[in-house]
């Protein structure tokens, strides 16, 4: 029998993700990929997969998959655990952030986390759906890549690897935060907002409930248009992940992996790439503060 997963339950959203499909923005293709990149990468390492292998991104748990053959699995992201419904009968629990061995026919259940939003489930051999433009990631904006998982979806697995699992038993896992301060590099259009650096430094925003893989909307003090820019329209320009875009209502949006490749509202700053992953885990109602820094473009 071929190695595969069969989806037996889904929660709010479960997607196949890898490191994404960068390099196609000029033809309108988002980079997509795991929102919490470090958590996804760790899950792959824990089961002995390579960094380009694909796993599952599970929003608020609720996912159950049955493995057709013995396999190693690992769950990362917010702390929590897995439940394993054994083919032989009975159920056991297993901690997150560790490789877990399961037998053919076992069902792996990802419960809803008590903090954070997104868990990353890796399976030895990786999810082996056909890549699209070099990536197996689902893309919720453009619809490229595999569709969101549904009950009955079958996902092929790659051959088990012989790379030894890395990092087992050495991880202290802390709860996902509900208040963060993130560094934001000013630019490219801070001059479109009145005192962008001062207002970003002074304000506290709340994560709105409408966030998704395209972006997180923040509610709080409005970033008001600079007086000399009122009524002006910025022509659409290329966007990057982490861009803090300011629509006319002044409530900022932080763009994530499935963001459109171009946008027409001014971007006042960009969240430091090393700190962006936290937005994958911020629940609605969490508070966000910014620490603005001036990082000039490199000289020739």
């Amino acid at each position: 029998m071929s190695r595969e997963l069969e989806v037996t339950a889904v929660g709010p959203q479960a997607l196949v993700v890898d490191r994404g499909r960068p390099g196609w923005a000029h033809i309108g293709v988002p980079s997509a990929g795991a929102l919490d990149g470090p958590a996804h990468a760790l899950a792959q390492r824990l089961v002995g997969n390579g960094p380009d292998d694909a796993g599952l991104e599970v929003l608020l748990g609720g996912l159950a998959v049955r493995v057709s053959a013995a396999a190693t699995v690992a769950l990362t992201g917010p702390p929590g655990g897995l439940r394993i419904r054994r083919a032989a009968g009975g159920e056991r629990t297993a901690p997150s952030h560790q490789p877990v061995h399961v037998a053919a026919g076992d069902e792996v259940v990802v419960p809803s986390p008590t903090s954070g939003l997104r868990g990353y489930l890796a399976v030895g051999g990786g999810i082996a759906v056909d890549p699209v433009l070099g990536s197996r990631s689902a893309d919720t904006l453009s619809g490229l890549g595999p569709a969101p998982l549904e009950v009955g979806t079958r996902l092929p697995l790659g051959p088990p690897t012989t790379i030894p699992p890395v990092g087992t038993g050495a991880l202290g896992v802390s709860a996902a935060p509900d208040a963060v301060t993130v560094r934001v590099h000013l630019g490219p259009r801070p001059d479109w907002v009145d005192d962008a650096a001062g207002r970003l430094r002074a304000g506290t925003w709340t994560v709105a409930p409408t966030g998704d893989r395209v972006g997180v909307r923040l509610e709080g003090p409005a970033l008001e248009r600079a007086a000399d820019r009122r009524g002006e329209e910025l022509r659409s320009e290329g966007l990057v992940g982490g861009a803090v875009q300011v629509p006319p209502d002044g409530q900022p949006v932080v763009f994530l992996a499935d963001h459109p490749t171009t946008g027409g509202y001014p971007v006042v700053g960009v969240v430091d790439p090393g700190e962006l992953a936290v937005f994958a885990q911020l629940r609605p109602g969490s508070s966000v503060r910014f620490s603005p820094v001036a990082t000039p473009a490199p000289d020739a």
């Binding site: 960068p22 196609w24 923005a25 033809i27 590099h185 659409s236 320009e237 990057v240 971007v267």
Partner: protein, 211 residues
């Protein structure tokens, strides 16, 4: 030319017009394709800017700046080097009458102007395979709809601002729609094709009235 930071790992170049964008964008894309910009991942031309990203490779942006300093922005873009595409259209779009009225023309005039124009792909974006086309007559430079439509069918042909375009797949959108691609039109986006997008910057596009 003004270079602005976009976080620590990207920059955006402000330029004076679509011709400068075409020249700078082509110079960067060609250098990237020749392997001369290691670490650079995306080169994204837009209406007045080119974005360059180098995730995890900030140093790569120095080579980008050096290259930009050597580009002659007064040069004429090499139009047509990317080939010519003819797209057959049924001119029965929901906004054809509105576009004609705002142009002060008959709908037949709109069709004649649209099919008579030699358009050029300025840049891509918005959705996979979507291309912003320049070269439409002034009368067809028209504002977007006040309220975008939640669902525009694949193949819809529209105008907005200084651009023309065709929706490669079903999506929301606010462009004024004047027609739809005929059945025998070539596929605009196919991820299994190389290149996946039919309309890449520099491509010449002509529309044909398919009745």
């Amino acid at each position: 030319m003004d270079v602005r930071p976009v976080g620590p790992e990207a920059l955006v170049v402000d330029l004076d017009g679509l011709d400068q964008v075409a020249v700078a964008g082509a110079a960067l894309r060609e250098a990237l394709d020749r392997g001369e910009l290691p670490g650079v991942v995306d080169v994204v031309p837009a209406a007045r800017t080119v974005l360059v990203t180098a995730p995890g490779a900030r140093e790569a942006l120095r080579a980008v700046r050096a290259l930009l300093d050597g580009v002659d922005l007064t040069a004429t873009p090499d139009r047509g080097a990317a080939g010519t595409v003819e797209l057959p259209v049924h001119y029965d779009g929901e906004d054809l009458e509105l576009v004609a009225r705002d142009a002060g023309w008959s709908t037949a005039d709109v069709v004649a102007a649209h099919t008579g124009a030699e358009l050029t792909v300025a840049f891509g974006g918005f959705a996979p395979g979507f291309a912003y086309l320049t070269g439409l007559p002034e009368a067809l430079h028209q504002p977007r709809l006040d309220t975008p439509r939640p669902r525009i069918p694949a193949g819809a042909v529209g105008v907005a601002g200084e651009f023309g375009g065709v929706y490669p797949r079903t999506s929301p959108g606010g462009w004024r729609l004047i027609g739809r691609l005929a059945q025998d039109a070539p596929t605009l986006f196919d991820p299994d094709r190389d290149p996946p997008a039919l309309l890449v910057p520099g491509t010449t596009v002509r529309f044909r009235d398919a009745g």
